[in-house]
Subunit: 208 residues, 2 copies
Amino acid sequence: MDVEQGPRRRQRRKEARPSEIIDAGLSLFSEHGFAGTRLEDVAKRAGIAKGTVYLYFPSKEALFEAAVKERIVSNMDAMGQLVASFEGTTAELLRRFFETIYTHMMEGDAGILMRILIGEGARFPHLIELHRKIAMQRGLETMKAMLKRAEARGELRIPAEDIDPRMIVAPLALFAIAKDIFPRDSIGTREDFIRRHCDLMLNGMLAR
Amino acid sequence: MDVEQGPRRRQRRKEARPSEIIDAGLSLFSEHGFAGTRLEDVAKRAGIAKGTVYLYFPSKEALFEAAVKERIVSNMDAMGQLVASFEGTTAELLRRFFETIYTHMMEGDAGILMRILIGEGARFPHLIELHRKIAMQRGLETMKAMLKRAEARGELRIPAEDIDPRMIVAPLALFAIAKDIFPRDSIGTREDFIRRHCDLMLNGMLAR
DNA sequence: CGATTTAATGACTCTATGGTCATTAATAGC
DNA sequence: GCTATTAATGACCATAGAGTCATTAAATCG
């Protein structure tokens, strides 16, 4: 309403702009990729003029970088917390872990950002590096901690070092990144997906 | 040599051009993404002038599409053949299956193409659709056949329908697509990777 | 209620590159 | 060897969109 015919255009809202611009950028990046997104459109969606974007971010790339920092790092920390404080079986921990990832990657923005990093990352070696250090490193640490914990509790079939943590999260990560290229039949409900994913990782396919 | 100071520039080689151009495009797309690749550079790498590219492909997008068709479809067929003709345990079949995928995605061009589809696919709804129909559909059929076969042999712990085939190949697919964003420590040798992947999918993590 | 500060604007510039096409020359046919 | 055909060329055009900046006006202050 305020936007439609509001008497006051040209509001001065220094504090609120950055995150509004990031939100607008994120939604357009996810629709059109990085190269395919026009700063003009980001501005329009944020309800401001193009020049205003440059008041807060020195370049398109800087805007993207701010989005990555804001949305991915906190997610990794959330997972670290979960593992550090959890008491219970590994099966239950893994389920909770997957739920957290699902929330951030499938329902939040982390999946979108990773998709863009993957597809257009060649353009931003700097960003890839940042992501590797800030996000990936932490995520893998957390998963290794989870495996060590399981090993210490005598729950593992094989030594913890023989399990590549990346394999465990691969299904969730892949779908978050690539759901568009899979046949459209849904991946089912959140609960269903997580249950199947857990079961496969914990017990495998084969009868014994 | 021939190129360096060769007496004959401007050779007429109608037959050889298309695949040479596709090769050049593929290598540049993988380095710079789709949007980041200049047709001028593709031409240079193929040893021809920019206009010549347009003699064989009507647009940049058409060139990319040709690459997808040529490199992905045949791969899917290779996997179908394998499953249809295999005799032996599911464990062994899965290993062979993974080897085939590894060859095409990690060592061949299929991974690169999928990475670009994912990252910049919003620009080519048509291409995503093509890929879904031509490649994904076949791949999933093949995997379902493999699961049904295992079920019929009494090797499965759970009904075949309860296993999402995409989860089984997710680790390989994810690494093929996203290896750049993971920490640089290698994923190990091909054999190692496949062995671990198989073992995890077949037997899971937990002691029983 | 002026005067001052600075957030916001959007018309403009400048570059990069996808795509065109008149010209050139390599081959084929005679 | 001459002519016709057409593959190959690269200078050129047109456009899009990132980034700039002189101007405008909202807030602040006295």
